[in-house]
């Protein structure tokens, strides 16, 4: 374990902004991509169902 306390962990030796924004943006991209793909898949299925019902 490298950290004396939770606040030391969050502070990242003074580089908190750079470290947490890097990891945060990566997480944001992953979450956004998965949600966008789920939406796209549901939309594609809905549209092809409409077409099939005609």
């Amino acid at each position: 374990m490298q950290w004396a306390s939770w606040s030391a962990f969050f502070n990242m030796g003074g580089y908190a902004f750079y470290v947490w924004v890097s990891f945060g943006l990566t997480l944001l991209c992953v979450v956004w991509e998965v949600l966008a793909l789920r939406k796209r898949s549901a939309q594609a299925l809905r549209l092809s169902r409409l077409l099939a019902q005609e």
């Binding site: 962990f9 990242m12 750079y18 470290v19 890097s22 943006l25 992953v30 789920r38 594609a44 299925l45």
Partner: protein
């Protein structure tokens, strides 16, 4: 005797197969990411030169690796689609491009967030950074070109040509730190030489890279299923499937 090697190369048979594969890759990605993050933030020691800022390496390097790996895989699928006139190969290339672009963007942005405290600049026009930026434009160009051509088979061929020509940029990115005097540091890992970094740091980086890799497979499969539905909307298999599906 004729073995049908191309059984899974038709969208109709690949669509349900991909559905079964996605959860496996997604879970693998999640487990590897948890292990990788634990090593990155708990086990890995503080760097003696860069302090804690170096921990950006655990997303930056895997994202940069994936940006190059995905491009090569995408170009290979596109080339296969061009050579064999196989629509599923072209769809795979199309499915990989957005994820590749996202990892390229992440490599650039996390690199910028690392460069600011270490070099004092968000951006420098150094060979490594510039060639990675060109990679982003190649991905975006591929996506834009494909979506600007209405006929999907023509779009596939045009995209494949662009993807194949762009491959030349990948070795330029990889070797840029050797060929030119760059502000960007040299490779952390070299083939045939002992790694210049502590074993725990290396392990964290490799686990994160594997997590990103598995994630890429999962989302590319999700996207290729969407593309199949969208492009084969009038095919009988899509009609039958959509009428049977819930929600």
């Amino acid at each position: 005797m004729k073995i049908n090697w191309f059984k899974y190369s038709s969208p109709q048979t690949f669509y349900p197969l991909a559905e079964k594969m996605i959860p496996w890759f997604a879970w693998l990605a999640a487990i590897l990411a948890v292990a990788g993050l634990y090593i990155s933030f708990v086990m890995a020691p503080t760097d003696f030169q860069q302090g804690e800022a170096y921990r950006i390496i655990f997303v930056h390097v895997p994202a940069a690796w994936m940006s190059m790996v995905i491009y090569i895989v995408m170009a290979a699928w596109a080339g296969l689609g061009l050579a064999l006139n196989a629509r599923l190969s072209a769809m795979m290339a199309q499915a990989l491009a957005p994820t590749g672009a996202i990892f390229t963007l992440l490599a650039l942005v996390t690199g910028s967030l690392w460069g600011k405290p270490m070099w004092g600049a968000w951006w420098v026009w150094d060979a490594r950074l510039t060639s990675e930026l060109i990679l982003l434009f190649l991905y975006l160009g591929f996506i834009a070109l494909q979506s600007s051509i209405d006929d999907p088979r023509r779009a596939d061929r045009a995209g494949a040509l662009l993807a194949l020509v762009g491959v030349v940029n990948v070795p330029i990115i990889y070797f840029s730190v050797k060929w030119w005097n760059t502000l960007h540091q040299g490779s952390s890992i070299n083939m045939g030489a002992a790694p210049k970094m502590a074993a725990t740091m290396l392990l964290g980086m490799l686990l994160m890279a594997l997590a990103f890799w598995m994630y890429t497979v999962a989302v590319a499969l999700m996207r290729v299923r969407c593309i199949m539905l969208e492009r084969e909307r009038s095919a009988d298999w899509v009609k039958a499937l959509s009428l049977g599906a819930k929600s």
